[in-house]
């Protein structure tokens, strides 16, 4: 067999429908995210068309208030959660491995699982329409309006469960992309040579890791309140609706940048190509990316200027809102300088970038306006804010995304879109956009409130005329969207065949042929420059003819190189999983679980959890290649250990990122405890005083001892004594079980039902968090025990033990902190 035939056999998806359902390759999964996201864009846009019809003149009756509320909720929810975030994840998942010289993402199954969660979560959310229970509480879902009293029925539950389910995809993508960028770059692609797009995605993925957990927590708490009567947001029993607002915006504002950063990553990638020169100020752009990622976490309260927080505290957020303009400005200047010093040429993608410039700068400026506290007090909840946010999101995300789609279309299809058609699409969208949203600045300042299904004639004729203009503009956008879809379909079907690198771009994804093969690189190249294809145009031929590493796939296993964090020196050969049913089965079980939960069939839900545990076990048992040789010949005289033989396996890094996510969730929960405690006179309330310390102290000791035992087990990895390793693992497992029992016992001793007060609910939630982690730790210990029994865990293959050890440390840390918050802080504070 030839080398290419080997590659094909190894990397191709299985044929037919089965192949589609079991595919895990990043190319397939990434494109699915993009196309599903675009479908949701059209659906979300359709809601907007109905809203614009309703608002075309005052007192219109296209939608009644209830339907309008559903449409405004689903418009925002769809476009934020089911379009903007997933579509960009898809772009990143498709492009990042190709740009950094990898064959696939490090956890292909996780990526496929994320996609199914996203799709099923979206369908779950829309299922509300079928039973007349579509969410209607706004995309921000503020309680108490979304609590059981004011929103009976299931509509809010559809939102909370569906959106949280879809968010699993975002979190999974974050883990996936961080590890991909840090650990699978081509040899020589040291940190200072990474493509700028990879910097943007790295920063975004870290932001998802810290930003999404607060919302996931907030949704879980609200669902507990709705389903079981827990108290978190009800002020009658010590809760506070502001807790939701804090958690929601702690997610919501970074989310704006989670959407914005990948999109401007596209801008920073395209501008050098169309200016025909390297980016000016690479380092400054990296600075801006990292700076934005951090500073955007200091803005969340600027959505809450009117809720009565002390003025000084508001001014902190005002200051950060202005500080974040510094990195944004740096990028704009870097782009201008690059164009200024280059020889720019204009094609459709560049046209969309210029459109982005115009719209986004306006949106950014109105952003600085609303960051000023007294100005915000005037325009809060008016159409001025609607105008601002659409200028930022459509300008800052949709235009760069479309630029990217037109730019990478020849890569995906090997065909070009029609230039003339593309330009018409651009002008329709650009003019339509401005006609729709520019007038909203004025209607907002004249007093037209947002999120209301109609407006008063007393606002004057000018407001009515401006609204009619906005609605007319909306139809121009719709025509533009139709043109875009037609253009895309035509390009896929009848587009002209293009060269492999039609734009003469510098980044590696253009060196692998268009459309690219599923393995991306026949041989993994060595990178020596920031703009590899400009410095060494011969790279493309080399890659195609199988020069480079790992060019031999006769063994039939999917492989990519693992390299070091900063210098990108080869460290290991990562053996990746191929097509499998596990992701689809796991996501289906989760869907069934959420459906059972929604219908309050808790018995069935519990059984589904057990089924999910079994499936997860099978997933882990079969992941990667457990029978890989310990040392693999990578070609060119380089022999590398297989990844499970290395102490820096992708799984170890993935676990670290996952624990950051859990840590962010836990920190949000502890924040909730103290936030609510500060708001009430007595915390704990009378009758809720903590009970004896003996049981929790005993539990804490057992927890520490279990850590010690697992550490001993870990040491026996090296001494190659499997029996000892299993013995200590078993002891660790038993001690963890003792801790779990102590948690349950002390909750039992405390005795107050969680429905009685917010304090009791938080004690239950903290205990639940620690207990859940203890249960997972128990399962992991059992897994390690079984692996060792099977002879697949020893000094040569330590990765599984490393993963369990990290999780164990986190469980111990979180368990101790949770116990201290519950039992010590009421005594000390």
């Amino acid at each position: 067999m030839t080398a290419v035939a080997d590659m094909k056999r190894t990397w191709a998806n299985a044929p037919g429908l089965v192949g589609q359902l079991t595919a895990v390759n990043h190319g397939t999964v990434g494109l699915r995210f993009v196309f599903t996201g675009l479908a949701f864009l059209l659906i979300g846009g359709l809601f907007a068309m109905f809203m614009r019809l309703q608002l075309a003149w005052p007192g219109n009756t296209v939608l009644d208030h209830d339907l309008y509320n559903q449409f405004v909720t689903m418009h925002g929810t769809t476009l934020m959660f089911l379009f903007a975030v997933p579509v960009l994840e898809g772009v990143a998942m498709y492009l990042i491995p190709k740009m950094i010289g990898a064959r696939d993402v490090p956890f292909p199954r996780l990526g496929a699982f994320g996609y199914w969660c996203y799709l099923f979560g979206g369908v779950f959310l829309y299922a509300g329409f079928l039973v007349g229970e579509a969410p209607r509480g706004g995309w921000f879902m503020y309680p108490p309006m979304t609590g059981k009293d004011f929103t009976p029925g299931l509509s809010a539950d559809f939102w909370l469960l569906g959106v949280t389910f879809a968010e699993v995809a975002a979190v999974a993508a974050a883990v996936e992309l961080i590890v991909a960028i840090l650990k699978t770059r081509a040899p020589g692609m040291a940190i200072q040579r990474m493509p700028l797009f990879a910097w943007y995605i790295l920063a975004t993925a870290f932001m998802i890791a810290f930003g999404f957990p607060p919302l996931i927590l907030a949704s879980v708490l609200l669902e507990l309140e709705r389903a079981f009567g827990f108290v978190f947001y009800n002020p009658d029993l010590g809760g506070d609706p502001l807790l939701w607002q804090h958690l929601f915006w702690l997610f919501g504002h970074p989310d704006v940048y989670i959407i914005f950063l990948p999109a401007v990553g596209v801008v920073s990638t395209l501008i050098p190509t169309f200016a025909r020169r390297p980016i000016v100020g690479y380092l400054w752009v990296v600075l801006a990316v990292i700076g934005t990622a951090f500073l955007s976490f200091g803005l969340w309260v600027h959505h809450m200027y009117t809720v009565g927080i002390p003025l000084l505290a508001l001014s902190f957020f005002s200051a950060a809102s202005m500080a974040v303009a510094i990195p944004a400005g740096i990028q704009v200047f870097a782009w201008i300088a690059t164009l200024w010093n280059g020889r720019p040429f204009i094609r459709t993608p560049m046209l969309f970038i210029l459109g982005f410039f115009a719209i986004f700068v306006l949106g950014g400026l109105t952003g600085v306006m609303v960051a000023v506290v007294p100005f915000d007090w005037q325009v809060h909840d008016t159409h001025f804010v609607v105008a601002h946010l659409h200028y930022v999101l459509i300008g800052g995300m949709l235009f760069p995304l479309f630029a990217g789609i037109y730019y990478w279309l020849p890569l995906v299809t090997g065909r070009a879109a029609s230039e003339g058609f593309g330009r018409v699409t651009f002008w329709l969208l650009f003019t339509g956009f401005n006609i729709t949203f520019l007038p909203m600045h004025f209607t907002g300042m004249l007093g037209m409130t947002r999120r209301a299904y109609t407006y008063s004639t007393e606002l004057g004729d000018s407001v009515a005329w401006l609204n009619l203009l906005s609605s007319a503009g909306g139809f121009v956008i719709a025509v533009g969207m139709i043109a875009f879809v037609v253009d895309l379909v035509l390009a896929f079907r009848h587009g002209e065949r293009t060269a492999d690198n039609p734009w003469q771009a510098a980044t590696l994804e253009w060196a692998i042929g268009a459309p690219p093969p599923p393995w991306n690189f026949r041989g993994i190249p060595t990178v020596t420059d920031r703009d590899p294809l400009w410095e060494r145009p011969e790279l493309a031929t080399g890659i195609g003819s199988g020069q480079g590493y790992l060019a031999d796939a006769a063994h039939g296993r999917r492989e990519t190189l693992g390299t070091s964090l900063r210098a990108a020196e080869p460290e290991s050969v990562i053996r990746l999983s191929g097509s499998t049913w596990y992701p689809l089965i796991a996501a289906t079980l989760l869907t069934l679980f959420l459906t059972a939960f929604l219908l309050a069939a808790y018995g069935i839900a519990a059984m589904l959890v057990i089924a999910a545990v079994v499936v997860c076990w099978g997933w882990l048992w079969t992941t990667g290649d457990a029978d890989a040789p310990l040392v693999i010949d990578a070609g060119h005289g380089l022999s590398l250990p297989t990844h499970s033989a290395s102490y820096e396996a992708p799984g170890v890094w993935g676990t670290i990122i996952l624990l950051l996510i859990h840590g962010s969730l836990f920190a949000s929960l502890v924040f909730g405890y103290y936030f609510l405690g500060l708001g009430v006179a007595e915390w704990p309330p009378p009758g809720h005083e903590p009970r004896g310390l003996a049981v929790p102290a005993f539990g804490a000791l057992a927890l520490l001892a279990s850590g010690g035992a697992l550490d001993r087990a870990r040491r026996h990895l090296r001494s190659a004594e499997g029996g000892r390793l299993r013995l200590y693992t078993l002891i660790a497992l038993l001690l963890m079980a003792v801790f779990l029992a102590a948690l349950v016992q002390s909750l039992f001793e405390y005795g107050a039902p969680p429905q009685s007060h917010a304090y009791a609910s938080l004690v239950s939630a903290l205990t639940g968090f620690a207990a859940l982690h203890a249960v997972i730790a128990l399962l992991m210990a059992a897994f390690v025990w079984a692996r060792s029994r099977q002879g697949r865990l020893d000094a040569d293959r330590p990765a599984a033990m490393q993963v369990v050890w990290l999780f164990w440390c986190f469980t111990a840390g979180a368990g101790l902190v949770a116990s201290a918050v519950i039992h010590l802080s009421p005594r000390l504070l």
Binding site: Q192, F316, R566
Partner: protein, 122 residues
């Protein structure tokens, strides 16, 4: 040691981590302090809460200035001598450390100005 720390990824973003810690600290302290009435205690011509906020801002600023200086030293040290593979990376990470420290410094100053100008609770 400080220089080699500044050449790690975590080290080069440590100034912004400090910014985040400072941000959370001053925001929480305003919440707690106003609840407890610390602003009503006059101290050294100002009030207890403002003084507390200033007294955590100054160390944060000094620490960030120091991080920036270490980054600069690391960059300069790597710039001397040949252009080896490692040195190129160190120059980059040193300069990034410095630039991020400048950004963090400016951002904390922007937070600190209202502390000096506004009464802490109203």
């Amino acid at each position: 040691m400080a220089i080699s720390w500044s050449r790690t990824l975590l080290g080069s973003v440590s100034s912004l981590i400090l910014w985040a810690v400072h941000f959370v600290a001053v925001y929480s302290l305003v919440g707690v302090g106003c609840e407890e009435g610390w602003q009503r205690t006059p101290v050294l011509g100002t009030n207890g809460l403002t003084l507390l906020l200033v007294s955590i801002t100054l160390p944060a600023l000094s620490l960030i200035a120091w991080i920036g200086w270490v980054g600069w030293q690391s960059h300069r040290q790597a710039s001397r001598g040949g252009g080896s593979e490692d040195r190129g990376r160190w120059r980059f990470l040193g300069l990034i450390t410095l630039a991020l420290a400048v950004l963090a410094f400016i951002s904390i100053i922007m937070t600190a100005v209202p502390i000096m100008m506004l009464p802490p609770c109203n």
